[in-house]
């Protein structure tokens, strides 16, 4: 049998395994943003990607539009019925908004957790190997986008900005498997119930909201939004509706299965929300402390 590797090749192989482990370790490290060489490469690849993906999106859009045409009649009927209700709702919202503004002025409290400034962005790429649920959008640091900002569609929250370069950013979807992917959320009811969204169940296609008190009466169909208490996301972004409640493994708290309001597939236009109030990110030192404490448990 011929020798598979010569000595020189074996050394190259071993050397590159060392480099590989080092690089993977480097990229898994808890870091704030990309290093500048990565940003530079990302911008260049992103430029080409934007050039090819725009006509392709148009092409794909054409077919889905044809499909849409078929159901137009039914949709139109339903929408007409809904518009009648919307007029009343709109005037209510305008009145309440004005009330709210005036009362805030009286209190001297101008900013609210719910305030944000949306930045429109187009999805230019989706990770083709599909191991990590990330998408790339065509807005970056040049438009003041920073890591950890919430990303929404018209329907609701879809994820957060993972890292940015000058002209592109990578968005991690809520469906991604990452233990650091947590959203502080609340269930809207007579009194709001707070919890954390801690993961995504791929089989049931639902988000998992944990740490809900066992005696809270949560019903199917209740609305879940971001609470703004995590210090990163603005308050009031729609996440989804309660699908089912299950007790957690120790029976002390409940876990809610939430049907996401926004679809994580076929994303094309998204909005990045710039929170108006200052955001709180834990300092590096504090993060280390938390890790130590968890280790002791």
């Amino acid at each position: 049998m011929p020798q598979f590797f010569t000595n020189k090749r074996l050394i190259i192989l071993l050397g590159s395994i060392i480099v590989l482990v080092a690089l993977i370790g480097f990229s898994l490290r808890d870091r704030d943003n990309l290093s500048w060489p990565e940003q530079f490469v990302k911008d260049i690849v992103g430029l080409g990607q934007a050039v090819v993906s725009k006509p392709a999106n148009g092409f794909a859009g054409f077919f889905s539009e044809i499909e849409d045409l078929r159901s137009t009649y039914d949709e139109n009927k339903e929408l007409k019925a809904r518009i009648k209700k919307t007029a009343q709702l709109e005037s209510d919202v305008a009145r309440l908004k004005k009330d709210n503004q005036e009362l805030r002025n009286v209190l001297g409290k101008k900013k609210s957790l719910a305030d944000y400034e949306p930045v429109q962005a187009t999805v230019i790429a989706r990770n083709p190997d599909r191991w990590y649920d990330v998408i790339t959008i065509d807005q970056g640091e040049a438009n003041d986008i920073q890591p950890n900002m919430a990303v929404i569609t018209a329907e609701g929250l879809i994820g957060k900005v993972k890292n940015t370069s000058k002209f592109t950013s990578t968005v991690q979807l809520l469906s991604a498997h990452d233990s650091r992917n947590r959203v502080s959320a609340m269930i809207q009811g007579k009194s709001n119930i707070f919890g954390l969204i801690e993961g995504y169940d791929k089989e049931q296609k639902s988000l998992l909201m944990t740490k809900i008190p066992y005696d809270s009466s949560v019903k199917k169909g209740m609305l879940v939004t971001t609470s703004g208490k995590g210090g990163v996301f603005p308050k009031g972004l729609v996440i989804g509706k309660i699908k089912k409640m299950v007790p957690d493994e120790f029976g002390l708290t409940q876990t809610a299965l939430i049907e996401p309001a926004a679809s994580f597939n076929d994303l094309e236009h998204v909005m990045v929300t710039k929170r108006s109030m200052t955001t709180v990110l834990p300092q590096k030192k504090e993060r280390k402390q938390v890790l130590v404490e968890e280790g002791n448990l």
Partner: protein, 171 residues
């Protein structure tokens, strides 16, 4: 000028992967399967067989590097394993014969190997909770099928293109 055709062809294949992912709706087959286009890898393996192995290894290294930075964010994965797959398959081609029918199997084997390595890597770094059986039924089967179809459609044109390019480079 004609020498630029080779990088251009590889660039088209590189972007075709993400284009395919963007155009194919995720709800196809009720979202039951994860279908991964590996058109670039197929092209790269063709390049190693009909053009030149060492050039293919360099291209695998470079485009793997771009892939890692732009799409996955896990540096080093494709940068290292794409050249390795090229090396292994080119050894296999030397042992077996260079016929398009058998080549199909070898290239599918290369893709199988790449998928398996990426799966193991992601289990190792805890980025997935998939079990081996889930991996085989949800990802591996449909992926191999898609790339087999791609191979059947484009085997001859790709072969001709790389043979032509080799003549251009040899002149």
């Amino acid at each position: 000028m004609k020498r630029l055709l080779l990088p251009l062809l590889m660039l088209v294949l590189f972007y075709s992967d993400s284009l395919f992912t963007a155009v194919l709706p995720d709800t196809a087959f009720n979202g039951k399967y994860v279908i991964v286009p590996r058109f670039f890898t197929v092209g790269l393996l063709f390049m190693s067989i009909f053009f030149d192995r060492n050039t293919a290894i360099k291209y695998g290294f470079l485009f793997g590097f771009l892939f890692d930075i732009f799409y996955t964010g896990i540096l080093g994965a494709y940068m290292f394993f794409l050249p390795l797959i090229v090396y292994i398959t080119s050894k296999l081609v030397k042992v077996l014969q260079n016929h398009l029918f058998i080549l199909g199997f070898i290239i599918l084997f290369g893709i199988f190997l790449l998928e398996l390595i990426m799966f193991q890597l992601n289990v190792l770094i805890e980025r997935t909770e998939m079990t081996v059986t889930q991996f085989a039924s949800i990802r591996l089967g449909p992926t191999l099928l898609l790339n087999l179809i791609f191979y059947l459609l484009l085997a001859l044109p790709l072969k001709n293109a790389f043979e032509k390019l080799r003549r251009i480079y040899n002149d």
